[in-house]
């Protein structure tokens, strides 16, 4: 056995604080048995961008669904079985050749959990939140999504109860693909609006 096996790395300051709060709340009987494991499992396996990709692919192949999705996002997303916290008031915004949409939360990190999962670190950190409302054209180009100058950029700051999902454009050359194959093309970033497909 390695030396490290005998001496696990000491806890970092933040890990010591987490452990302290967990211990005190557990001693007071406030943490149900298995609760932390349940939270972890729920956010790691039940929600994520694969859900959103299914919504997008369905909208690409079914014009009636797409219309419902753009009219009442919450209800149309629920048709595929997705909903819950941070997904109760969904608005879906559609990219076209002339319009590009991108979502941000400048005040915290609001994000449509049921269809995209938990937000990535960069979405929660200051640079993205500060810059996307001020210089989206520059920031999108930096992030690998340069847009022609004549494409209108619509930024959506999730500052109240609505959560947004971007409906990306269906890529060219995909006419023969099945809905499942199409879903495989849809990336998390394209549904945030920091990438085009």
């Amino acid at each position: 056995m390695s030396e490290r096996g005998h001496h696990p790395a000491p806890l970092s300051p933040v890990e010591r604080r987490v452990a302290a709060l967990e211990a005190l709340l557990t001693e007071r009987g406030l943490v149900p048995e298995g609760f932390i494991e349940e939270i972890t499992r729920r956010y790691e396996s039940e929600i994520g961008p694969l859900n959103g990709a299914k919504v997008v692919a369905r909208a690409w192949v079914d014009p009636g669904y797409k219309e419902r999705l753009l009219t009442d996002g919450t209800a149309a997303i629920a048709e595929l079985g997705f909903g819950g916290p941070e997904g109760d008031h969904m608005v879906v915004v559609e990219n076209t050749p002339a319009v590009h949409n991108v979502i941000v939360c400048t005040l915290c990190s609001c994000y449509p959990w049921p269809v995209l999962g938990l937000p990535p670190s960069w979405y929660k950190d200051p640079p993205y939140r500060a810059r996307m409302v001020r210089e989206p054209r520059t920031l999108l180009a930096e992030m690998g999504c340069p847009l022609p100058g004549d494409v209108e950029i619509r930024v959506w700051d999730s500052s109240a109860e609505v959560r947004y999902l971007v409906l990306p454009q269906r890529p060219a050359g995909t006419a023969g693909m099945t809905e499942a194959e199409l879903a495989g093309l849809v990336t998390r970033d394209s549904m945030i609006g920091v990438a085009r497909l």
Binding site: L21, T106, L107, P126, R134, E135, D157, A160, E161, V194
Partner: protein, 210 residues
């Protein structure tokens, strides 16, 4: 003199590049999942509203906020609410940690005693010009600083929702419609980029006719 929270980041300059990654695990480290779960435990035990939850993080020391990760924010907010509601004491937390356990600062706004009447019918409709009230409340608000005093156009009327400025500071509630308001970037920033609109979702009482 109350200051706006450090969390109100829209338009702030000097942060540099976004550390983008195409994919990452939900919880890169185990403590992050635990911190998230503990916030859920505390928020449930003290029946915190969404506004009170968010404000517990917004009251962090600005330097701490900017130099700590998302789940350290959650941990700090959870511990702050736990202390403020008497579930644990700060001394217990620091004794168990074996070191400092920084908490968020006190709320600067008093509890809302009279929330006023609910507003059932929206005052504004799609296409109306509105101006965001130029106010700087000392407590929680969901009105971003970068739109205060600015004029925009209502593009969507949403349902009525509990006003965060009220619910963050006690048990009182007031319900109002929210709107999505479109602002031209040129009207928000002296160097606003061409062909850019920014949409902000705002409660009715944040707005006045333009």
């Amino acid at each position: 003199m109350p200051v706006d929270g450090i969390h109100d980041l829209g338009g702030m300059q000097g942060f540099g590049a976004v550390a983008h990654s195409p994919a990452e695990p939900a919880f890169p480290d185990r403590w992050q999942a635990t911190a998230r779960a503990l916030m859920e435990v505390v928020a449930g035990a003290v029946e915190a509203s969404g506004g009170e939850f968010r404000h517990s993080i917004e009251r962090m020391d600005p330097g701490h906020y900017l130099t700590s990760s998302y789940y350290e924010h959650w941990l700090t907010g959870a511990a702050t609410l736990a202390v403020e509601h008497g579930l644990v004491t700060h001394a217990e937390l620091e004794a168990r940690t074996g070191g400092r356990f920084p908490l968020s600062g006190p709320a600067l706004a008093p509890p809302v005693a009279d929330a006023g009447p609910d507003l059932g019918e929206p005052r504004f409709g799609v296409g109306d010009r509105v101006r965001v009230r130029d106010w700087h409340p000392p407590g929680h608000t969901r009105c971003p600083g970068y739109v205060r005093g600015k004029a925009g156009t209502v593009v969507r009327v949403d349902g009525t929702h509990s006003v965060p400025d009220v619910e963050a500071h006690g048990p009182a509630r007031r319900y109002e419609p929210t709107y999505s308001v479109r602002f031209d970037a040129a009207g928000l920033w002296h160097d606003g980029q061409r062909g850019v609109t920014v949409h902000v979702d705002l409660w009715d009482s944040y707005l006045e006719p333009a």
